[in-house]
């Protein structure tokens, strides 16, 4: 599903080279729910950017759904990002000028779906997150939790191969955070792979697998999957 | 506090100085064109002889045939017949002075064979002309009343014609020829800055008349009439002869070609003068003249010029374009201002969080736009000066270099009134364009921008 082999990311300035990520080897399978943790500055965000195809990398290979993204043009990467990846961010990143319906619509337009299909997908996605009655509201008219649900709806509307969640509950209070997590788990249950970056160990434990990043290096810790299964039941 | 705000405003203008310069330029270019055009029409619309424009009156009475065209533009109707003009001058009227004006072209030629003759646009008038219209003299003065009565061969030259004929020397008492007639110079006019030449209703600015001769002399010697003769239909075939040959026929005919100007000691006597004119025309009607309904006009110079200005007003397309141009420049300035202010959102919300009141911020930004406005006004005035110089030269080019820059420069002069107007306009418009950006910036919630840091 997602496989990184010896991926490195180096930031260069005139004076120094910083290895933000060093020789990352990683394999995430379809349907997994993986949490990524690590202290600030450890390379979490860089990993997220690489995994989400938001940044390019210098060394190694990155296979997404069996395709090596290395050396792809910007246009190809954009298309791949659009098709394979759904994003959920800490600060929601909704487009403030657009009502819910049109926010969810954004990636679908880039995908090139026709109008009917877009409408159906938008309505479905908003149905899943429980906001189908508020299509015409602007993001600012919603609570934080609701905004994050819209973001999730936007992320899943295009049926991505995996969902990349960056501190999805970081800006939310615990009640809302709980419901957002439940939503993500529900989506995971439906077969969507989820990679979630968080600094919250409690949340991280709810994932099936935890990857820790320290100083640009990845260590993979498989959680007790039975533990996870019990919780969800 | 105000001083503090002022220094803040100055500092803010200095940072991102390119934007400030752009803004000043936007306002300046708009102002430049606007003031250029406005100065031209302001100078062009100025009332000549303003201090007595309410006491000088143009006298018209309609002596055309019944079938003549109706009068649509009053000041450009008809003139008087020679006979009527003289009857009125000799009658008992409320006017203190009268003068008549008609135009001719004569050839002035010196007895000195080395001086080549030249054609002078000539005013044919009486001696009151010079006192009524405040003509300044360099040498000598107006001819006497007896010269009018005796049709004496006298001429008044202008500085220009005196330069050509006598090399600029005092030529009073000298002789020269008007066409083939020997005449004596009685006066040489000093530079006469009339603005527009109203007395022959041409309202010309550039080329000046260069000779003045008595009406009685011109009639006696059959000096050609360079005038539109308006005759009754039965006389139309004689018009050409009347213009160049048959002067006796002309002065006894019903053809109009004489402009009559009256000076009243008091503007309020105009009604009395109108009453007189009505009486006169009625008396002439009894003689079978003035076949039409009464169309008499006694119009002050002030009104004449104003009517003329109204007719001219809508001609220049630039007069329409300049304000639009200015607005576009202002819209640009708004955009720049908005961009400049919104960049400072964080600073503003921080200040607000630290307790700055709205009005305090408002004065700071108001200072900022006012400074921009004043700078724009100053640069704009300079641009307007350049624009006017350019227009002056275009005008000279258009007249095929027949007019000198000196003769025209008053029509393109930027005076204190227009400079003040320029800077004031710039300041007012800078405040107007500042309104929305300032309103936006002072309404930024305190610390709203800090949250996401």
């Amino acid at each position: 599903m997602l496989r990184m082999e010896n991926v490195s990311k180096i930031f260069r300035t005139e004076l120094i080279e910083t290895h933000a990520l060093r020789d990352v080897n990683l394999h995430i399978k379809k349907g997994e729910f993986v949490s990524i943790t690590g202290p600030s500055g450890s390379g979490k965000t860089t990993f997220l950017n690489l995994a989400g195809l938001l940044e390019t990398f210098e060394q190694g290979d990155y296979f997404l759904d069996g395709v090596n993204v290395k050396g792809m043009s910007d246009n190809q990467i954009s298309a791949l990002r659009n098709e394979k990846i759904g994003f959920v961010f800490q600060s929601f990143n909704l487009i403030p000028d657009l009502p819910l319906f049109d926010n969810v619509d954004v990636p679908l337009r880039y995908r090139g779906f026709n109008r009917g299909e877009r409408k159906e997908r938008i309505e479905n996605a908003l149905e899943i997150v429980g906001l189908s009655s508020r299509l015409k509201h602007l993001p600012t008219q919603l609570s934080g939790g609701q905004q994050q649900r819209v973001a999730i709806a936007r992320a899943i509307a295009g049926d991505p191969a995996f969902l990349l969640a960056d501190e999805p509950t970081g800006n939310l209070d615990s009640m809302m955070a709980q419901s957002v997590m439940e939503l993500l788990e529900k989506i995971n249950d439906n077969g969507t792979t989820i990679i979630m970056v968080t600094h919250d160990d409690q949340l991280a434990k709810r994932a099936g697998r935890n990857i820790q990043i320290f100083d640009g290096q990845v260590s993979d810790i498989a959680l007790d999957s039975s533990d996870v299964l019990i919780k969800r039941a | 506090m105000l001083v503090y705000n002022f220094t803040l405003a100055l500092r803010s203008l200095r940072e991102r100085i390119q934007l400030t310069i752009l803004m000043v330029l936007a306002i300046a270019i708009g102002i430049g064109l606007l003031i250029t055009v406005q100065t031209m029409s302001y100078q062009g619309d100025k009332i000549p002889l303003a201090h007595k424009a309410d006491k000088i009156f143009f006298v018209q009475a309609d002596n055309r045939d019944i079938g003549a065209e109706p009068i649509v533009r009053q000041p450009f109707m008809t003139y008087l017949t020679y006979r009527d003009a003289n009857n009125i001058i000799n009658a008992d009227t409320p006017a203190s002075k009268h003068t008549t004006v008609w135009k001719s072209d004569v050839i002035l030629n010196s007895f000195d064979q080395d001086v080549r003759p030249f054609r002078a646009s000539t005013v044919v008038t009486n001696n009151n002309f010079f006192s009524m219209f405040d003509v300044p003299f360099q040498y000598g003065g107006a001819w006497s009343e007896s010269a009018d009565r005796g049709a004496e061969p006298v001429v008044i030259l202008t500085k220009e014609s005196n330069d050509l004929l006598f090399g600029g020397k005092n030529s009073v008492g000298q002789q020269l020829r008007v066409n083939a007639l020997t005449v004596t110079v009685v006066g040489v006019m000093a530079e006469w800055n009339l603005g527009r030449r109203f007395y022959d209703e041409s309202y010309r600015m550039g080329r000046k008349d260069t000779a003045f001769i008595p009406d009685t002399f011109a009639i006696k010697n059959n000096i050609n009439r360079r005038e539109r003769l308006d005759c009754l239909p039965q006389d139309r075939d004689k018009q050409t002869a009347y213009r160049t040959k048959d002067v006796d026929g002309l002065i006894n005919s019903e053809c109009t070609f004489v402009r009559l100007w009256a000076e009243l000691p008091d503007p309020n006597l105009a009604d009395q003068y109108r009453e007189f004119l009505t009486q006169y025309v009625m008396s002439q009607k009894e003689l079978g003249r003035f076949p039409r309904e009464l169309n008499n006009y006694v119009t002050s110079l002030y009104t004449m010029v104003t009517l003329r200005n109204e007719l001219n007003g809508s001609r220049n397309p630039l007069a329409y374009i300049a304000p639009l141009f200015f607005i576009v420049c202002l819209l640009n300035a708004i955009g720049i201002l908005l961009a400049k202010f919104m960049r400072k959102s964080k600073e503003v919300s921080l200040r607000r969080a630290l307790g700055a009141k709205k009005w305090v911020l408002m004065t700071q930004y108001l200072f900022e736009v006012l400074i921009v406005g004043v700078l724009g006004g100053i640069v704009g005035t300079a641009l307007a000066y350049l624009g006017l110089q350019g227009m002056l030269h275009v005008q000279i080019y258009q007249s095929d270099y027949a007019v000198t820059a000196q003769a025209l420069s008053h029509a393109f002069a930027l005076d204190w009134v227009m400079m003040a107007k320029s800077i004031l306009t710039a300041m007012v418009s800078s405040v107007v364009i500042g309104l929305y950006p300032i309103w936006r910036v002072v309404n930024i919630a305190p610390a709203s921008q800090l949250k996401s840091q």
């Binding site: 659009n82 800490q90 954004v106 880039y110 960056d166 | 066409n179 640009n332």
Partner: protein, 404 residues
């Protein structure tokens, strides 16, 4: 195309959007008015003169002494000028090319309601066509016996005339004008057309009516005090300026006269066009400066909008927008505002042209001009958006994970 999201987004940025539209509106108004007037003014601008105008000199002269014997004076003038080295031909004439006076009307029949055709008469002697360097198109030139030389009082009307090519076309379409008759005024004797000559420019008045070459040549030299002939002189290549003084001196040999102008026809031609030319140039320069300013303004506003929307652009990129679709977004957005502004501007232009022509009632506005101006401004605006939009496309999608 993403019209819907753009419209929704514009709704949230009403002020700035309006600013752009209003700018476009005013700019297209000014540009349309200016170009329409200019095109109208420069109609028939600098048409071929049909003359070797650099080598033809015109002299305007006047006798102020009524005692001068005009018949002798004219004969003397012509002889004296001819003797000057460098002079090739000379003819007395009334009208001067490029400066012909009020047009006259000629008629094809003597009926009271016959249609009149505008023209300018050129009265010259038998050498007239040589001075102007006209080519014979059909028929023949005048011969000496046909030329009437007389004072105005004793003159008999001419019996033959020549007409210009364009005049022939207007009067007789494709038929041959040779031998046809023409009435040079209402209730006059008919004259016979004996030849057609090549076109040359008459003057401002008929040029303004699209009849620049409508002339009729009459074989006559008529004099009268106060209305005596000018001279047209054909000179050797390049010698015109140096001949002004000898010609002037030759003419001043007759006393009692005044010469008020001697110039090359080139100068006359310049005078015919320079008023219009400079007005048109001023209007065009002003409106081009305006377009430039408005272009900068639009670029500035768009660049401000883009700075404000950095994050949004990053989000779009993250959600799969290609660089091109970011650029396209801004171009489409700007074009929508521009087109709205252009439509409003067209209405405003109509209003203004109505106001400006209320006096004369003659509309100068042409819709094709407005259309050209609109397209031009649209292109300028696309260019103005292009640079900031390219910058927008460079916004990294990774911006979305920052500052979170």
């Amino acid at each position: 195309m993403e019209f819907r999201p753009i419209l929704l987004s514009l709704k949230q940025n009403k002020f700035l959007s309006l600013l752009i539209s209003v700018q476009v509106m005013l700019t297209v108004t000014v540009l349309s008015i200016a170009t329409s007037i200019t095109v109208e003014t420069l109609k028939a601008w600098n048409m071929p003169s049909g003359l070797d105008h650099e080598n033809i000199v015109s002299v305007r002269t006047q006798f102020f002494d009524p005692e001068v014997n005009l018949a002798n004076a004219i004969v003397n003038d012509v002889n004296r000028i001819k003797q000057i080295p460098g002079v090739i031909e000379v003819t007395p004439n009334q009208e001067i090319p490029f400066d012909a006076g009020r047009p006259s009307k000629v008629y094809l029949s003597s009926e009271q309601d016959a249609e009149g055709f505008d023209t300018n008469f050129f009265d010259m002697n038998v050498d007239g066509h040589k001075v102007l360097g006209l080519t014979l198109i059909a028929g023949r030139f005048f011969n000496q016996t046909e030329v009437i030389q007389s004072s105005a009082e004793q003159a008999t009307p001419v019996s033959v005339v020549m007409i210009s090519q364009d005049m022939a076309k207007e009067l007789f379409k494709d038929h041959s004008p040779l031998g046809k008759t023409l009435y040079l005024a209402k209730e006059s004797q008919p004259v016979q057309i004996i030849g057609v000559y090549s076109n040359f420019m008459n003057g401002e008045r008929l040029n303004g009516r699209g009849k620049s070459y409508h002339t009729i040549m009459r074989p006559q030299v008529i004099w009268q005090h106060g209305n005596n002939p000018n001279y047209l002189i054909k000179v050797e290549q390049g010698s015109a300026a140096s001949l002004f003084e000898p010609i002037t001196q030759a003419l001043y040999q007759t006393p009692g006269r005044y010469i008020y102008g001697i110039e090359k026809l080139t100068r006359t031609q310049k005078r015919m066009y320079d008023g219009r030319g400079s007005q048109g140039a001023i209007l065009l320069v002003v409106s081009l400066v305006l377009v430039l300013i408005a272009g900068f303004g639009v670029a500035g506003l768009v660049s401000f909008l883009i700075t404000q929307r950095q994050k949004q652009i990053g989000i779009r990129r993250a959600l799969g927008a290609t660089k091109w679709s970011v650029i396209r977004y801004f171009i489409v957005e700007n074009s929508m505002l521009t087109i709205f502004g252009l439509l409003m501007g067209t209405l405003l232009t109509m209003l203004f042209s109505y106001l400006m022509t209320q006096g004369s009632g003659q509309s100068f506005l042409s819709f094709s001009q407005v259309l050209y101006c609109s397209v031009f401004i649209w292109l300028i605006n696309i260019a103005a958006v292009w640079l900031p939009a390219r910058r927008a496309a460079k916004v990294s999608p990774a911006i979305v994970t920052r500052s979170a």
